[in-house]
Symmetry: C2
Subunit: 115 residues, 2 copies
DNA sequence: GACAGCTACATTGCATAACAATATACTATG
DNA sequence: CATAGTATATTGTTATGCAATGTAGCTGTC
């Protein structure tokens, strides 16, 4: 049942969407990278690996969307907590609006109630 | 109000989604490239240009998702009509399922009824 | 009959993100 | 002391969106 076309398409579909998912997960709370991997891993369609989430978080920091705080842990290595900045909250709001537009567009082309 | 981050993100968000949009537009009917550009252009979030749609359609043909028929037109150049194959319909069904999963995942992280 | 404007197809080159693979290092348990 | 889980990070490959560019046919108008 494998399809190189489908697998490749899935990878492309996730572009941008995972950034939205990570930012949305950070809304209203402080999380560290590994925690985000575990949380999104429980949501079908948003499963993400370390090799994907750390570059995203680095980008957010570089773009000024988040601030970080290093906190020691007594059950493993230190954790780097990420928190949305004012600008991060603003960008998230714009992204959510763009997302709704795309989502509704696809839904209009592809209604649920048919074969 | 411009944001290089946001503009770039929007481009990434469209990856994969536009392929889904084009395939969905072809479901149950035969369309030619330029027509697809015009139709999707009317849907906010799915606006697409020729330089994007023709490579997508070429890929679909190469992957065996569509067949093409060249038809002369008396109001311009000949039109190349695209039609889904059986395999195209199957891949579209898989893509729609993956799309629903991603869409619902984001919606669960990012409910409508809040600020 | 020359020009603008629309229709219609197509390619090239660049920027960017997903992710497998890989590396490092701390803690706990058997 | 080896294994497993926690936790962060980078490198290299690959594929897509799209601006820019090009070709060409048809229609109307001055």
């Amino acid at each position: 049942m494998e399809s190189a076309f489908f697998d490749n398409w899935t990878t492309q579909l996730r572009k941008g969407i995972l950034e939205l998912g990570v930012l949305a997960a950070l809304r209203g709370r402080r999380l560290y990278g590994y925690d985000i991997v575990k949380r999104l891993g429980e949501i079908p369609g948003l499963v993400i690996s370390e090799g994907t989430v750390y570059p995203i978080l680095s980008r957010f920091k570089r773009e000024g969307l988040v601030t970080t705080t290093l906190v020691e842990s007594n059950e493993g290595p230190a954790r780097k907590y990420y928190e949305l900045t004012l600008n991060g909250r603003k960008e998230l709001a714009r992204m959510r609006a763009a997302w709704r537009s795309v989502r509704d567009g696809i839904n209009s082309l592809s209604p649920e109630d048919d074969a």
